[in-house]
């Protein structure tokens, strides 16, 4: 469609080419994303592609900017009025796409809906669970009462898309998917939805914030990487996300194409077996002749450090990731407020690694199998092969096994592996990886649910515990940083790199790259001339 419009614009005459082309182009845009959107119900499935589309249609009390800093959304301000009570002041004069006004009633309704979406495979209930009672002070003020002080309340609210009580009282997930109930306060409204294929958006002219740049947006899903790039090069789509690293070099040279990129929040790291004690066998570790070792070398911090510094992170970033990542020594990148100052990516030093192994009692090394998925993270299978090469060079003979995520993730969750590659897409608060990956696995507190290596450190747990009820923000941040520092010094996991998020577009477009990886229609706009 755009092609036709462009031709029309060219035919309009030389004097106005620039102007009319600009005007015509600004009418519509076709985007293609890699991951299929599974539902338009914003509370059905906690999944990035769904969240990105939900952000286009709906708003949250607290929105986030491209760097994941909190911004006033449907709430103008928020504060803890008592240790256990948060108060949110709501934005006046906001209307849903169907004209209904937005009030505190809608917020209360939304939070009540979160745990009650039928058949949800991954619900948003965790964000309303700390709230024990809600109190509507006036139509534009709402208070949440919690059992204990809950400093992460505003962060939680960045995940909850607000619905309209009147419209969505009895709305089912199917109603959302059909478009009938996909009605929010966001910058675009849904025109049509073909599941797994495309969504058509139209500008919400009554949006409370910045007016959306395009009248219409076609949001297509093209899962195949090569096909997506080909579609961009052929001009069938004007914008793609998740640009394959193998195409980066070529796209950078192509003067029809522009890229937008930013360091993301997803760390790729190696989880190690902490479950088997020092005198037990780890499942995939043997001596050099293939016999059981009788001990788990990974319980020795010197071995863990040796394995970490044996890895040439820069080589992986340059050669395997083609520059689309930064070497990492911790979960969050520089510039994020819970980044641990002074903890740098471990320097590549194979000689020191061999010395550490000898000190730990393994002068001849040992054998290990490194597992990983082959369809989950950017270049996952390639990365584990590269690590395998590097470990083998310091005497730790490594075999590599990559398998589909479906079979991998279950086994990783049962701590079946000695070493495995996995990723973590964090929110910008260090408490997120701490609580899910590094804290001791405890069901009652909901800690360590993704702690697939079963790392456990009482000092780290204690610091995390304190931070979760500390309302004084600078103090809380300090606690979170200290806990992460302990994990880094103890080599709880081996961080490899943090991915760079990259989008590709035709030259006439511009885009605000987000570190949370979301591909939202409102972030795409015509390039300034």
């Amino acid at each position: 469609m755009t092609g036709k419009l462009r031709k029309l614009a060219l035919a309009a005459g030389t004097a106005f080419i620039g102007l009319s082309a600009q005007g015509a182009l600004a009418q519509s845009v076709t985007m293609a994303v890699a991951a299929p959107v599974t539902s338009l119900d914003p509370h059905y499935h906690q999944l990035s592609p769904n969240n990105a589309v939900a952000d286009t249609i709906f708003d949250k009390l607290v929105n986030t900017d491209a760097k994941s800093n909190n911004l006033p959304g449907l709430a103008l301000s928020w504060r803890a009025v008592e240790p256990n009570v948060w108060e949110f002041k709501l934005r006046p004069n906001v209307r849903f796409h169907n004209g209904n006004p937005f009030t505190a009633e809608d917020v209360a309704f939304t939070l009540q809906r979160l745990p009650n979406v039928p058949n949800s495979p991954s619900s948003f209930a965790a964000y309303s669970r700390p709230i024990q009672a809600m109190e509507i002070v006036d139509p534009l003020t709402i208070r949440f009462r919690t059992a204990a002080p809950h400093p992460l309340m505003p962060l939680d609210m960045t995940n909850v898309r607000i619905l309209d009580r009147e419209t969505h009282q009895n709305a089912t997930t199917e109603d959302f998917n059909a478009g009938r109930a996909a009605i929010g306060t966001g910058p675009y409204r849904v025109v049509s939805h073909r599941s797994g294929d495309r969504i058509e958006f139209e500008r919400n002219d009554n949006y409370w914030g910045d007016r959306a740049p395009f009248q219409r947006v076609l949001y297509r899903m093209i899962t195949n990487d090569a096909a997506r790039t080909a579609a961009l090069l052929a001009g069938d789509v004007e914008f793609i996300d998740q640009v394959p690293t193998s195409d980066l070099a070529k796209l950078r040279q192509d003067n029809r194409i522009a890229l937008s990129e930013t360091v993301g929040l997803r760390l790729i790291f190696l989880g190690l077996d902490h479950l088997r004690q020092a005198n037990e066998n780890s499942p995939f570790i043997t001596d050099n002749d293939g016999r059981p070792l009788g001990r788990n070398p990974l319980q020795d911090v010197r071995v863990r450090r040796a394995l970490s510094i044996a890895i040439d992170r820069k080589a992986i970033v340059d050669r395997v990731m083609e520059g689309a990542a930064v070497p990492a020594g911790q979960f969050l990148p520089e510039g994020v407020y819970t980044h641990v100052p002074g903890v740098t990516p471990p320097a590549f030093d194979p000689d020191a690694a061999r010395r550490l192994l000898a000190e730990a009692g393994y002068p001849q090394g040992f054998r290990i199998q490194l597992n990983g998925p082959n369809d989950r993270y950017v270049n996952d299978a390639r990365i584990i092969q590269a690590v395998g090469q590097m470990w083998t060079r310091i005497g730790v003979r490594t075999t590599v096994e990559a398998q589909p995520w479906t079979t991998f993730v279950g086994r990783a969750g049962r701590a079946d592996f000695s070493a495995h590659l996995i990723g973590w897409g964090s929110n910008p608060d260090g408490s997120h990886p701490l609580r899910n990956i590094l804290a001791t696995q405890t069901r009652e507190r909901g800690w360590g649910s993704s702690n697939r290596g079963r790392y456990s450190n009482p000092r780290l747990d204690a610091l995390l515990d304190q931070s979760l009820v500390e309302l004084d923000e600078p103090k809380r941040v300090q606690l979170v940083i200290e806990a992460q520092r302990i994990a880094a010094e103890d080599v709880a996991v081996i961080p490899l790199h943090i991915q760079t998020n990259i989008w590709g577009m035709r030259r006439h477009l511009a885009h605000d790259a987000r570190n949370d990886e979301l591909t939202r229609a409102q972030d795409v706009r015509p390039a300034a001339r």
């Binding site: 119900d41 499935h45 090569a226 096909a227 001009g235 279950g410 969750g413 897409g425």
Partner: protein, 325 residues
């Protein structure tokens, strides 16, 4: 005849039942869908809730019993991913796959038949050799690789055809069809050709073999001896005779074409059933996998049955009861 039909249908039901059981057990053995679908930062309580919500907390035989009970009422379960009836999801995507499969079949016939006829009539000419060599290429080239080559050449370098996806659709019988619009046809061309490569080769070889065998038949020799024009012999006597087996095989192949569209659909981002099944396998969306495979088996059985029935009508020598070889 009725007895025969009843027996066939009963057999078909048995096959479907056996298949659903195998797939049910198989998919459950691969992994836990909750592990895959759940947000990584969900805690254990939330995980347990999800397991319960999807009915996966029951023992497997009970899950199967629940599935069977509902299946008898026409409900094949709800997708774990989309929270919509699995059958509805598949039916929504069926027109896309069907038009791809039919497109491929049409390509196969309009390209394969003339080439095969020529190769059969002039088996020793240079062109025939080239055709036959080409048909071997068609058999040998892996579909996925050809697909990408097609995109590279026709979409990226030449820019003649759109690279991927389904174009604009028109409505017929309440369904969305892309062959009704020019844009839709342009989108359909490449994937249909990709999917038809194997079938083109098949048709060429069947036609050639048929022609060569028929030319040796006494009645053809007789027709030629009688002085009928070569064109008449070819098109009336030979062509008519080989058309039946060719059409039969192509018809039988329709089922496997639908199944094989899995590869083509993932390369061309074609939003059909094949892409749905690959996506579903990736997230272990068991209701969709089971429903899809049951559907495919039913299609296979239906096609076989139709072919057998047509056969018996066309050729009285084939008696349905003695379905031997």
């Amino acid at each position: 005849m009725t007895v025969y039909l009843v027996r066939r249908v009963l057999q078909a039901l048995l096959v479907v039942l056996a298949m659903s059981l195998i797939v049910f057990i198989g998919v459950s053995a691969i992994g836990d869908p909750v592990e895959i679908l759940i947000s990584p930062d969900a805690d254990q309580i939330e995980r347990e809730r999800a397991v319960q919500a999807l009915g996966l907390d029951l023992p497997l035989w009970q899950q199967y019993a629940v599935f069977l009970t509902k299946a008898l009422q026409g409900d094949l379960g709800r997708s774990f991913v989309y929270n919509e009836p699995a059958l509805k999801l598949i039916l929504q995507r069926m027109p896309a796959t069907m038009e791809l499969a039919f497109g491929a079949t049409i390509f196969a016939l309009i390209i394969g038949l003339p080439l095969g006829l020529y190769a059969g009539l002039r088996p020793d000419s240079r062109l025939s050799r080239i055709i036959m060599a080409g048909s071997i290429l068609g058999f040998s080239l892996p579909t996925f690789w050809v697909g990408l080559m097609l995109i590279m050449v026709f979409a990226v370098y030449l820019g003649w055809l759109p690279s991927t996806g389904r174009g604009e659709t028109g409505t017929l019988l309440g369904l969305q069809w892309s062959f009704l619009t020019w844009d839709g046809l342009r989108h359909l061309a490449m994937p249909a050709l990709n999917l038809s490569l194997f079938k083109i080769s098949l048709v060429i070889r069947l036609t050639r073999a048929g022609v060569r065998e028929t030319m040796l038949m006494d009645y053809v020799k007789f027709a030629r001896a009688k002085g009928l024009s070569p064109a008449r012999v070819t098109f009336v006597h030979v062509f008519k005779n080989i058309l039946i087996p060719v059409v039969t095989v192509v018809g039988l192949e329709l089922g496997s074409t639908i199944a094989f569209s899995v590869v083509t659909e993932s390369v061309f981002a074609w939003p059909g059933m094949g892409k749905l099944i690959i996506d579903s396998i990736n997230v272990l969306d068991r209701p969709v996998i089971v429903a899809y495979l049951m559907m495919i088996v039913l299609i296979f059985i239906a096609i076989n049955l139709i072919v057998d029935l047509t056969y018996s009508m066309l050729d009285p020598r084939v008696r349905l009861e003695s379905k031997g070889t």
